[in-house]
Structures are given as C-alpha cells and as structure tokens.
C-alpha cells in the first residue's frame, strides 16, 4: 500500500487517481499508523514552502517521514513535496526543510535569463545525464513532463537525477538512496508521468 501524506496542502484527488490507474493501492492519510504500515510514502504539496513546512511540523508528520525514510522506506516528494525534502528554502524568508537530501530551494529568477517567464509552467523535456535512475526506467531521454514552479533545488548536484532546460539547467528530480523527489507533476504528465509512478510503485522495499 502507498500512503499519500495528507497535511492539509492541496488537492490530492488526481494523485490518488493516477496511482490507482497504475494498479497501486493508494490511500490519502494523516494517520501515523497507516503511514508506518505503508510500503511507500508520497509527500505531495502545492503553495508556499513556509506554510507547508509549518503544517507538516504542526502535524508531527515531519518526524514520522524522517523516521520512515531512515528505515529505508521509499519516499517520493512531488513538486513542493520534493522541495520539502531538501534542507532549506529561501521562498519569502528562510525556512527549514526535512533535510533528507542535501541542497536548498532558491528562486529560478536567480539563474534564468530575464526574458523567461516565471513561473516555469508547461511541458518540458527531462534529461538524465550519464545514468538513468530506476524511477525513470520506463522513460526515454527527452520525454516531456508537466512543470509549475518558481523555485528550484540548488546546491544539490550530487542528488540530481534529471534536469530540464529553461534558460538554465533546472533541477527536475533528485534522489538520495530511498528518498526521491520530482519537481514536476507526474500525476499531470500523461502516460510518461504514469510510467514514473509505476516505476516507483514497483521499486523493491528494503
């Protein structure tokens, strides 16, 4: 069973539907017992980093996610959920993340040319570099996924498993052991997105 962490951020209907579409048994939950019992955890998120980090902390689910990650359970952060996996964000101030993956969240305006629109919104191609992470085993270099974001993962070079070109090479996905994150929305990325979710669902649990 895959547990989608419900900490009061965003609409999780599409995410759950997309997991059901790849044959996974997915539940939306804030119940620590269910999250501990789950084989895998997905950390979703939309909106501002500060608010989301606070909600996660208030619910105590931040510690739980860290504990489960330490046990080796596969964790997938999506969009803001990916950003929360890193150490820190500079979106409207300075906010602590979960620190499961080294790196910080900075405005994309810092690295892209001035004539590029912000947010980075739409379909962009994924580039994997020399080695393709198991999360992307059903994908081909250049497959398109759907992005909506104004901030990106910086100083996380060691963990980057995919980038997207938008006037600069932006972090599209990160991984450190059993902890993974996608800046884009696999649940909104058509068959390519479903193939990523399928690969995550099929990963061996340690």
């Amino acid at each position: 069973m895959i547990a989608i962490v419900d900490y009061g951020v965003g609409n999780l209907f599409s995410l759950r539907s997309s997991l059901l579409a790849v044959g996974a048994d997915a539940v939306i939950t804030a119940d620590p017992c269910v999250l501990r019992a789950a084989e895998k955890i997905i950390l979703p998120g939309v909106g501002a980093f500060g608010d989301a980090a606070e909600k996660l902390r208030e619910s105590g689910l931040d510690r739980l996610v860290k504990e489960e990650a330490a046990k080796g359970k596969p964790i997938l952060g999506i969009c803001l959920g990916m950003q929360l996996l890193l150490e820190k964000s500079y979106e409207y101030g300075e906010h602590e993340g979960l620190g499961l993956i080294p790196g910080v969240i900075r405005p994309i305006a810092d690295v892209i040319p001035a004539d590029y629109k912000i947010p980075h919104i739409g379909w962009n191609a994924l580039h994997f570099g020399a080695e393709k992470h198991p999360l992307f085993r059903y994908l081909a270099e250049g497959d398109h996924v759907y992005f909506v974001h104004s901030y990106y993962g910086a100083q996380c070079k060691e963990s980057v498993i995919a980038t997207a070109e938008y006037g600069a090479d932006l972090t599209a996905a990160v991984a450190s052991g059993n902890v993974m994150g996608c800046q884009f929305h696999p649940e909104k990325s058509g068959s390519v997105g479903l193939a990523i979710l399928r690969a995550f669902c099929e990963m061996e649990v340690a």
């Binding site: 579409a21 501002a48 947010p119 379909w123 068959s191």
Partner: protein, 256 residues
C-alpha cells in the same frame, strides 16, 4: 526546452460538449469524458472545460463530469464558466481541476482575482477575456461576448495580472468562428503588456494558423481551439508533428 501547448476547449451544457459558431447556434458533439480521453491520448497538452449551464441541476451534472474526467485523464485541467466567488473555485478544485478560469466573474467582482490568487496561488488563476474591436479600440465583452463592458482590454488584462492572474486566455470575438487565423495584432498587444503566459483563442481553422501564430508571435505560449478539433478538421497529433517539423518545440507522445 519548454514546449508550446495545444489546448482543446470543451464547452459543456447539460452534460454534453457543445460549440457555438460566433457563440450562437449550439451543436451536440460528444461525451465530455470520451472526448477528453481522446484528446489526451492524441497529445493535447491541457484541457479546458467551460460550463455554460445556467441551472443548478446542470451545474451539479458538470461537477460530476469533471470528477469523472479527473479520475481518468492525467493532464492539466482548467475549468471555467460560472466562476463568481471563492466558493466556486473551491467547488471545481475539489473535483480535480488544476486551474480555474475567470471571465465575467472577475468583471462583476473586481477583487475575485486577487483573493483567489492569494488563496490558491497565481498559477491557479487564469484570466479569460473576450475582446472585440470597437471603433479601433480593444474592448472587454461580457456574457459570452454579447455585452460591451466599455472597459479597455489591455488595461483590464494588465490590472488582473497585477492582481495575480497567472495566465491569460485572449479570445478574439473578431476572429472567433471565422476560421481565418488567430488575431495576431490583438495577441501582440497583450504580449507586449504582460509577462505571464498568453494563450491564443479564436480563429484557428487549419494547421497553418497555428504555425503562423507561433512563428510570428514567439511570446505566445499556447493555442486554444474547439470546433476544429471536435469535428476533426484538425487532428491534434498531425498538428503537433507538423509544427515540430517546422522547428516549433512540441511535446509529442508515443503511440501504444
């Protein structure tokens, strides 16, 4: 590289997809769920659902259909029509919409865009504007293009973007339904005024019109159309292959 988006628009009334020619004379075309799946399978980058129902029953039927679409289709969904309040935003977002398009509702309630952007984020709020030239000036029209509000369109669009609209759909009443091509001068004026994504609507009749749009106005992010897709006068897969061959960045999907 970010791709240009091709967006079919589905007007829904009493649970069926309809399309007006110059906004008049509605025809039933197909089931919204079936049509949405067809478009998604053939490469549509996003879908827009427009609720043109007036009755409460029709509205309930629309949200049911939307929920069913969101259960089966995994590309971004924008929903518009009858969005007048934050409660309306809530209602359609809960059914699985990713973005909400406001038109007359923003004209009636000038704080709607600002409040919605604050609550749901700029990326969630799409400003849709029906624009028509009156004595050489771009004017905002309301009520499905029937009523001249007297507002100057570029000023209105600039204001709404300032309030937090994350994207703008520009529908030219002058070119809508005519199939003579998008309204390039109008779109140019909007692109010059705002820096958020601009979606062109009204006037597409064939593949060449999309090619013309993206070649002459590289700032435009997406092209939206309805009847030419519904009646299969333009096939989305062929359209995208053709634009890709001309060097316009397009997302294409593998068959099978």
């Amino acid at each position: 590289m970010i791709t240009k988006r091709i967006i079919p628009c589905l007007d829904v009334k009493n649970g069926r997809v309809v399309k007006g020619v110059n906004f008049l004379g509605l025809n039933d075309v197909s089931s919204p769920v079936e049509l949405a799946r067809y478009y998604s399978d053939h490469g549509a980058d996003e879908l827009v659902f427009y609720d043109i129902t007036a009755s409460a029953e029709g509205r309930a039927l629309f949200t049911d259909i939307l929920t069913e679409v969101a259960r089966q289709i995994f590309i971004p969904l924008t929903v518009g029509g009858g969005i007048n309040s934050l409660e309306d935003f809530d209602r359609v977002l809960k059914c699985g919409a990713d973005k909400v398009s406001v038109n007359s509702g923003a004209i009636r309630n000038p704080s709607l865009v600002k409040e919605a952007a604050k609550r749901y984020g700029d990326q969630c709020v799409v400003l849709s504007v029906d624009v028509k030239r009156v004595d050489g000036v771009f004017r905002v029209f309301a009520k499905g293009g029937r009523e001249n509000t007297g507002m100057e369109a570029i000023e209105w669009i600039r204001r709404c973007v300032g309030d937090g609209a994350g994207e703008v759909v520009v529908n030219s009443i002058d070119t809508d339904g005519v199939k003579g091509g998008f309204d390039l001068p109008m779109l140019q004026a909007v692109c010059d005024a705002v820096s958020v994504p601009v979606i062109a609507s009204g006037g597409a009749g064939c593949i060449r019109h999309f090619s013309e749009l993206f070649h002459s106005l590289p700032q435009v992010d997406a092209g939206l159309a309805a009847s030419i897709f519904h009646f299969h006068e333009v096939d989305i897969g062929e359209l995208k292959q053709s634009l890709l061959a001309e060097g316009i960045p397009m997302r294409t999907i593998k068959k099978g």
